[in-house]
């Protein structure tokens, strides 16, 4: 250690080592912060729109609004939008109104279901027949009980 140059070099190595340890600690510290922040910001899964009963009350549309063939309206269930109508065949149908293209709410137009945002068109079975939508609309089972309409998932 009597050689001056040697001492200086050793000091430089020690400093580099210190900086490496400090850098590693800082990165570890930041990673330990990042995980709780990610978990904190992660949204809760949305509640099941059909609740515990397996069906949801339709708001904004009453059975009387869709009594005759060709009548239809937009409403909501469990915080989501839906379109409900009585087709020319007299059958009551309902679909989740969120267009499968970009998420606008579609509209019942007598002989078709149409999206005003980008011209997506569905037939009365909810099948995408023209325009940009990549998939059919999500169908809902709709029932009238007294003065109210209810929807439930198609699969149940």
């Amino acid at each position: 250690m009597s050689d001056r140059g040697e001492v200086v070099e050793e000091g430089a190595t020690g400093r580099r080592g210190f900086l490496a340890v400090l850098g590693g600690l800082t990165v570890a510290w930041l990673a330990a912060v990042a995980w709780p922040v990610f978990r904190y910001l992660s949204p809760r899964p949305p509640p099941d729109p059909f609740g515990g009963e397996g069906k949801a009350l339709v708001k904004g549309v009453a059975p009387g609004d869709v009594a005759r063939p060709g009548q239809g309206s937009n409403g909501s269930y469990g915080g989501r939008g839906l379109v409900v109508f009585r087709g020319p065949d007299g059958q009551l149908r309902a679909f989740d109104s969120k267009c499968t293209h970009a998420g606008c709410n579609v509209q019942f137009q007598g002989d078709r279901i149409y999206c005003n945002c980008h011209g997506g068109t569905y037939d009365l079975e909810g099948r995408n027949i023209a325009g940009p939508p990549p998939r059919p609309l999500t169908p809902l089972r709709v029932t009238a009980e007294g003065d109210s309409l209810f929807v439930s998932p198609m699969s149940s």
């Binding site: 400090l22 600690l25 912060v33 709780p36 978990r39 904190y40 992660s42 809760r44």
Partner: protein
Amino acid sequence: MSSDLSPIPPEADRRLPPPDTRAGRATRWLLARYPVWPIVEHLAEKRVPRHRHSVWYAMGGIVLFFFTVQVITGILLMVYYDPGQPWQSVQRIVMEVPYGALIRSIHHWAANLMILAIFLHLFSTFFLKAYRPPREMTWVTGLMLAGLSMAFGFSGYLLPWDDLSFFATRVGISEIEKAPLIGGLLADLIRGGPDVTVATINRFFPLHVVVLPLVVLGLITLHLTFVQIQGVSEPDSFRAMPPEKRKYHKFFGEFLVAEVPVWLALGVLLVALAALAPRALDPEANPAASAPEGIKPEWYFLSQYQALKLFPGSLELLGQALLALVPLAMVLVPFWDRSIPADARGRLATRMGIAGLAGLVAMTLWGFLS
């Protein structure tokens, strides 16, 4: 090809990474466009004196660390806080959101430790006499930042809308209300009516998350720019040493690197405090209920609270006036005690500072115990 690019100064060329490396090319590319070499050089040469009081130079950086924690945790809390449902939304943060209780408690603890660090920064600056010319405005902006930090504490305290925050805010604003002439008007403006209600939250929330942060960020920038321009102050004992005996740390590279592990440790301390002593959420504020037993202001308002108790009844106005003299005297100190090295005024200022600190500690302890 003519160009408006600035030539690289030769002294910069010598100190930058070699031009055939990526870092060398990038720094030269930037310097040709933004010719800030004199600023870079000034900062690179910035140094911190080494002496037995050097540890106090770290205090400002510690305050800044806590402030950064407050900005980050504050933004996170705002994601779920709802001023329309203040207590319910804080309860949701504490009970339902993952790590919500931890983040809220860290915000609480960092606020308290930031105020503590500000006190340490302020008193060390005072006793090392760093406020003397040419640093008067650094001192004054620092005092403003200390006052605004207390306003941060006061406005944030109300936001959870629990029992404690409701009564603390009511009492605090009633002190403003007692001020002569404009007290009533001022109190109504702050409260948004004759009493503390949800309307007060709708005022305190934008104050706490928009107005104060903007003003404080501006003042911090000014305060730090002043320090960068002038460098840190050297105490009289250091100046009295022969030049060859004065030792310095480089600010960037040595001093700052040494402060990083302190920050990391303080981060760990915050998590430990938040986990071991989490901030409770009391029952929702009920303006009709009696105030909770043993209710007292936060520790950094305790000395004023205790001092005002010494002036009962009609004397209270006198007590307020005397208390108002303290910040006024602090602002005026650098314009009165100017001599380097310290003269008789300087020694008197130090003695008054010791008396002030002793009074602050005694009043705070008395407030705790009474």
